[in-house]
Symmetry: C2
Subunit: 352 residues, 2 copies
Amino acid sequence: MPKSVVISIDAMGGDHAPAIVVDGVQILAKKAKNGSLKILLHGVASEIEPLLAKNPAAARISQVRHTDTFVAMTDKPSQAIRKARGSSMWNAIEAVKTGEAHACVSAGNTGALMVLSKVLLHMAPNAHRPVIAASWPTARGASVVLDCGANVECAASQLVEFAIMGEAFFSALHGTKKPSIGLLNIGTEDLKGNGIVREADALIRRADLGLNYQGYIEGDGISMGAVDVVVTDGFTGNVALKTAEGTAKLAAEFLRQSMKRSLLTMVGGLLSKSAFKELKSRMDPRKFNGGVFLGLGGVVVKSHGGTDGYGFSNALNVALNMARSDYAEHIAINLEELAKVTSKVEQEGVSQ
Amino acid sequence: MPKSVVISIDAMGGDHAPAIVVDGVQILAKKAKNGSLKILLHGVASEIEPLLAKNPAAARISQVRHTDTFVAMTDKPSQAIRKARGSSMWNAIEAVKTGEAHACVSAGNTGALMVLSKVLLHMAPNAHRPVIAASWPTARGASVVLDCGANVECAASQLVEFAIMGEAFFSALHGTKKPSIGLLNIGTEDLKGNGIVREADALIRRADLGLNYQGYIEGDGISMGAVDVVVTDGFTGNVALKTAEGTAKLAAEFLRQSMKRSLLTMVGGLLSKSAFKELKSRMDPRKFNGGVFLGLGGVVVKSHGGTDGYGFSNALNVALNMARSDYAEHIAINLEELAKVTSKVEQEGVSQ
């Protein structure tokens, strides 16, 4: 565990950058112990410095690394690569590559961040593709869902990789030694679901990786906290995550409308104000901001593009927890083990 | 539109059958005009008749069709078929086949109901596989999502079939002439999403079926009511539906917990009781009970297996609306048109 953590930020990424970036650093800086945290802010100095002047706690721990260029939110990954060298995003990732920083955070263009991270940091040994892992509020606290959008189609062995990476990620965030793992499927019986999910289930049982694997879970199990780590492909994971966000928004909207239906309910609403505040906070998406690209040769955290300073500070917190954990060592052993198993399975054929 | 609708029910299907079935019929019977509705109850007469004795409105419109055998909730479809002939589920569907009934409803084993419906009713002309369509509460009222679990993997042309069937289904339920249609994807930009979804998007635009097609929507768009009809494969649709159910449950649970945090909030909660009741009713899954198997040569409605009488009455309502609509004629024309387009595309290759 490094004594002092250095986080490298793409200060120009996000809908409201660099203001939300500096706000986020300010929130974290106020809580950080002296000398425990250092921030590198990559971006346009003339925009960042006036903000730091207004946020002295942030200014105290930050260094500005000026660059004029940045990747636009609307750039396609292919465009982004061509003009990326020297941009705020590129430089932020490069600081992790050179070892100057322990983790990188950006609220910028997801596709570009994914591609540049892979180009600069390469994959971790025995990992094949980056995967986006996100935290999810549940009845038991929080779970991790992966993949949330990086890999639209996944082979069975990839899903097993996700399980290994998700376990290490959950441990890094929450300190749990053997988090429970489930495969997202459309039925808990053996016969349901698609071929790839069934193959992944067989592989994970056979691989004997010492995972706390609980078998299949269904969509309603995610929010119920049926398992700590939910494994699925990037298409399904992204749809599930956004569907849950939409449903939570709808419930909040219906609640607001219902509380306005009479004078009595309005008075009731006023008395219950603290309860609603607590409810809002428990389901606040900003609290769960910070998707991590797992499987790379370094830590990269993607913040939601439209978040505010509070949301960005939570993405920074995720980076901080990852930098302080033994995440990289944890997955290295299991991925090596998986590589042995998959090559053995490939030789023998996929018969169980 | 038939003057008097006949609905054929598998009275032994569901976790709490036949009690919930008779309760559901009773609720509907009280609202039905004299002579407008007739019910066939297939199942064990000695179990059903005492229930009818206690529910005179239901008894007035019901005929019991005795059979001793039924498909168990835990039977696999392959087992179910072997012993299905003469079962309550088989007989309920057969009444639609012979033309005695306009629609069939069952809260029984989904897989068995799907297989038996296909065996007995066959597919509608130019439809290839049955699909499960379900209603979904939204900020604008209700949307229809399909497929909710029948087809784990789907070709692009199947997704276009779903769009056509979903349009007709939404019209049957709500009377809307040109409901809006969206394809569920993980990004609204052209480049995102998987190959099949992109291919379906191209095909739907090219086919010129006169659909009110709005392009891609993301998961959060479902609950927001971005479109009337959400088209997706059965794996994604099932995960989305159950994820939303889980999230709504979690929000309700968090609300309950928060209202108990102090005396003040508890008093507030009491005053707001009517508001909470309204909220609960608006998101009540029983209200949206009744998934329809579309694409068959007859109407089959699947009720949730664990529902109660109120929930079952809503599934009956769906069957009633379908029976009274011109749904079958509506899809026939569009499916024929699609068949022409797909065969043309296949000849030319999938280049756009």
